[in-house]
Symmetry: C2
Subunit: 345 residues, 2 copies
């Protein structure tokens, strides 16, 4: 049995999802992979900080947060270490960086990740900021310090889109990536196809918790653009400023547009695409009316999908969940197993 | 630069495809991964055997076979080593096992693979026989001898279905696998939807080289059943005798059946499925009328697809090419890179 000690920075939705996965799957992971994942420290901006070398019980962390909204029930001194001190002092093999996303600066996650890597700790994150803004540099830093950086959770939650492109398709050269990378807008389009007008479909998405009160991040294509920036940085090694991504959302589409596409055997989808053309990368998010035979046309509801076009294979398409607290936490586990469990051929 | 010396057993379609990939991609693989793949021996039942410690030129092997159908142009003595002697004597790190498939006994590939693994050589194969009949035992043998066994090419050619299930979804427990695993029958169904009767669609598949003169392996579901047996052995560690797989082909479907499904917004597909129910695995190949919202319903033409249902994620679907000499050769390269190149998280 190998103990893998983890420090968690951030204990919001995804962090709690991860703790929940450890509660439910910890035994199986010990048996199946001989890996005992142990949370030795946790630091959250609002919930406080805790550390215990012998390990903190994930269920106790969840209970404390559910009951009081913070870790005060577990310790009288929950302000001992801040995030940086936690990364610095916790005796751990890996840091889970799950602080709030900032797509402008990447902070504070960028500083957290860089510090952890310099200390030779592996880092696993679902945070979009650092992956979109600085992945190539962080990957080099990880390499220099003999550790790994996992960002599977930053795109399509637990659906292993990043590992597919980075590991499984690496025998080929990826020429083009196109996908449905925002589940909320795809849900709205699916409901509009079923007959709802845009406003009613959006209201339904908000009621189901898919869309926020201000839905512009989803319906104007900002979220999909951020995911393109991540794919560019991770798969092509090129950071792509968000303002350089051509972006158009779905707000101009009407139910009539969708009905008319259906009569042509087509479907409107918000397609995010990234393509190598000579030395430049072209990136755009735009509604596209796809023929039903297109691999993305059949993707309905809040599901996400990605089509990789390479030089050696025909299009390879991956379809799966694109969001969710357990689904995203699952991505962290995928990255941790890739780092700590011996691979199979 | 790390030299990886390869011995090839079998130089048919896939073997030649692999040589062609080395000709086209060798430089890129050296630059990108620091790996120099070198064929030091090749042994084919009808084309003869060659070995050269300094490496055989893949283009020369291809030219010899194209011109004379064998290796006689390259050496006066092409009978020096048989397959077993090649595996035994060639100074190599990996053996590519590409001899003819035998789904009853797995031989001679089984003997080749077992010998190679006992000698501590990694093995990469696209051969369905050993993977379907003895994968769990061969994987243990590989483990015992500190080497790896790659079988990515045995299902869905270069589409990385095996690695997806084995590596990327290993944080979860796979409950169900269902797929379109035979491109020929899917091509025929797609043509029937477009209006052709079965006999005409089959004739078209034969003219395009998708179906053989005796098409029963494809249209009666034998090929899909063999792939289920491979998935069972690789993903669940359980060998599944082919006769225990319930099997029904597409020959009883008429154009009228497909048209009537279309009116119900459904599509007939030959679905291969494998499901854990308690302690037993249930496997079957059968035509199923799927609602258009099903992830397999939109898969058309000779394309293959696989849906993994796990306990922790929603369905994850992979769609891509299912056959082809370069596509299958690509799978060998994927396995070789997984073995010899350091992974990324």
């Amino acid at each position: 049995m190998k103990t893998v000690r983890l420090a968690m920075i951030g204990f919001g939705n995804v962090g709690q999802g991860f703790a929940q996965l450890l509660v439910g799957e910890g035994n199986r992971l010990r048996q199946q992979y001989g890996l005992d994942f142990k949370i030795v420290a946790v630091s959250d901006r609002t919930k406080g900080s805790l550390h215990r070398t012998s390990g903190l019980e994930p269920q106790a962390l969840l209970d404390a947060v559910r009951q009081a909204g913070d870790f005060s029930a577990l310790s009288e001194d929950t302000t001992a270490w801040d995030a940086l001190q936690t990364i610095q002092n916790a005796p751990c093999e890996a840091v889970l960086e799950l602080s709030d996303t900032n797509l402008q600066t990447g902070e504070p996650a960028l500083t957290h990740i860089a510090l952890a890597l310099r200390l030779g700790r592996h880092v696993v994150t679902a945070n979009k900021g650092p992956a979109a803004l600085r992945y190539p540099e962080l990957a080099r830093l990880a390499h220099t310090h003999g550790c790994q950086l996992g960002v599977e959770g930053a795109v399509m939650s637990g659906t292993p889109a990043i590992h597919l492109g980075l590991d499984l398709l690496r025998a080929a050269v990826i020429r083009r990536v196109e996908g449905i990378l925002n589940g909320t807008s795809n849900f709205i389009l699916t409901q509009m196809e079923a007959g709802l007008e845009y406003a009613a479909a959006l209201r339904q998405a908000q009621e189901l918790g898919y869309a926020e009160a201000d839905p512009s991040g989803d319906v104007e294509g900002y979220d999909a653009a951020a995911k393109l920036a991540i794919l560019s940085a991770v798969l092509f090694g090129e950071t792509l400023p968000l303002e350089k991504i051509q972006r158009q959302g779905i707000t101009a589409l009407s139910q009539a547009d969708l009905a008319s596409a259906a009569r042509r055997s087509e479907r409107w989808k918000l397609v995010a695409s990234l393509e190598r053309r000579g030395e430049t990368l072209q990136a755009q998010v735009a509604p596209v009316s796809l023929p039903l035979s297109h691999p993305l046309a059949g993707v309905s509801g809040a599901t996400n999908a990605l089509v990789y076009t390479t030089d050696l294979l025909g299009p390879v398409t991956l379809i799966g969940p694109g969001a969710g607290r357990l689904e995203t936490a699952y991505a962290l586990l995928t990255d941790l197993l890739a780092i700590f469990s011996a691979g199979s051929a």
